[in-house]
């Protein structure tokens, strides 16, 4: 499950907002202006089941998110949802992968400590013996130019 963020976990000055997740639950989000740079040469990988519940994360995912593997497995993927991300992006993500296609986009993710990191994400359906059994997202280091474009664009999509 997904719980409210706790002030004790947050590093630095933070703002507070309530986000509606899964169109139902409300989560208290505490977030800061502190960016963690994307680590060179690494891929951040996670897999979810058909509902978006995390089933696998790699080491880079754990390191960048600030959560432990135990906290992540079984949690909904919106645990990383940053309030600056327009809902339309994730709607497009889900529509695309549920059609069996590959989705690619730039995502600002929220860390457990309230900070953020930008990624270029590619999400694909995992097809085994002809059926979709889950989804995998592989993130790589984004170009700064593309991130700057998203910083301009995303606020206009709310």
């Amino acid at each position: 499950m997904i719980s409210d963020m706790q002030p004790d976990d947050i590093v630095g000055d933070f703002k507070e907002v309530y986000l509606q997740l899964y169109n139902s639950i409300k989560r208290r989000i505490l977030y800061t202006d502190i960016e963690t740079p994307y680590p060179d040469g690494k891929l951040i990988v996670s897999t979810t089941d058909l509902d978006g519940t995390i089933t696998h994360v790699n080491k880079s995912f754990v390191e960048m998110s600030g959560y432990t593997e135990e906290e992540l497995i079984g949690a909904p993927h919106c645990i990383l949802r940053h309030p600056d991300m327009p809902p339309a992006a994730f709607k497009d993500l889900w529509n695309t992968v549920q059609k069996g296609e590959k989705w690619q986009g730039f995502v600002k993710n929220l860390r457990k400590d309230g900070g953020f990191y930008w990624v270029k994400a590619t999400v694909i359906p995992n097809i085994r013996k002809g059926s979709v059994v889950g989804y995998t997202s592989v993130r790589r280091k984004p170009s700064r130019k593309k991130v700057e474009e998203c910083i301009q664009l995303y606020p206009t999509l709310f």
């Binding site: 040469g41 590619t122 694909i124 085994r128 592989v138 984004p142």
Partner: protein
């Protein structure tokens, strides 16, 4: 019935005799006639795969994807603890110290090794570089990639990390690594084609026990690794999914 075994052309030349010795050993152990056929480059290999001439292959991850998804190959084993990683390097004398400083039109040297090029191009993306806005410099081998950098015929090179590490110190000292990938889950694997799958389980047992006897250890050493490790279907499927996400 005779079967054809091949090794991805990106193997290190130091290990060529090792693969012949391994093939002889494999024939004895499985009591099958297996012919080792080495191809000069990926074009030749791909033509042979296309014509269904291959029954066993030590495949690079890029070809493994196609062999498993389109040609019905199944994974058997991989080199224990090894993974394929890529390196982005420039000449030591280059003014460039980070990928982000590279500009469009930059001359990029690489080989025809598809998975290394894929990983390498991903590491160039933070500089907004892609196959359309670089100047490619195709090289026949990794030492030649290094040579292009040293002669200033290319600005940046993409290397298989293992091949980079195998360069002589004299050459390595004149190169500067900008990024080394740490992907961990992309690796070569020994695969069996549809006609050889009756031997899959037996081969898994043989290979994973190979490092337990002296003869086996010597053969493994000549291949450049310490043991074979079993690879199951899901691990391979996962690697292929991952390669898929990198392919654009």
């Amino acid at each position: 019935m005779s079967y054809t075994f091949t090794v991805s052309p990106d193997f290190s030349p130091d290990h060529i005799s090792g693969w012949y010795i391994f093939n002889t050993w494999l024939q004895r152990q499985t009591c099958e006639a297996i012919h080792l056929e080495m191809f000069n480059d990926f074009d030749e290999l791909h033509a042979a795969i296309h014509n269904d001439q291959i029954d066993l292959i030590y495949a690079n991850p890029y070809d493994a994807a196609m062999l498993v998804r389109e040609k019905g190959f199944l994974p058997v084993a991989k080199a224990a603890g090894e993974s394929d990683e890529a390196i982005i390097a420039v000449a030591e004398s280059s003014a460039v110290n980070a990928v982000e400083e590279l500009k469009q039109g930059v001359r990029v040297a690489y080989t025809d090794d598809p998975d290394v090029r894929l990983m390498g191009m991903i590491m160039l993306e933070p500089a907004d570089l892609n196959s359309e806005n670089i100047t490619p410099v195709l090289a026949g081998s990794y030492p030649v990639v290094a040579k292009h950098l040293l002669k200033n015929e290319a600005d940046v090179g993409i290397f298989l990390a293992e091949a980079f590490d195998d360069l002589s110190n004299l050459i390595k000292n004149q190169l500067k690594v900008l990024v080394r990938s740490q992907i961990s889950v992309i690796h070569h694997a020994l695969l069996v084609g549809p006609k050889f799958q009756h031997q899959r389980d037996a081969m898994t047992e043989l290979l994973t026990a190979m490092h337990h006897d002296e003869k086996g250890v010597a053969i493994l050493k000549s291949l450049g690794f310490s043991a074979w490790e079993k690879v199951d279907d899901e691990e391979t499927e996962f690697m292929i999914d991952l390669m898929d996400t990198l392919a654009t």
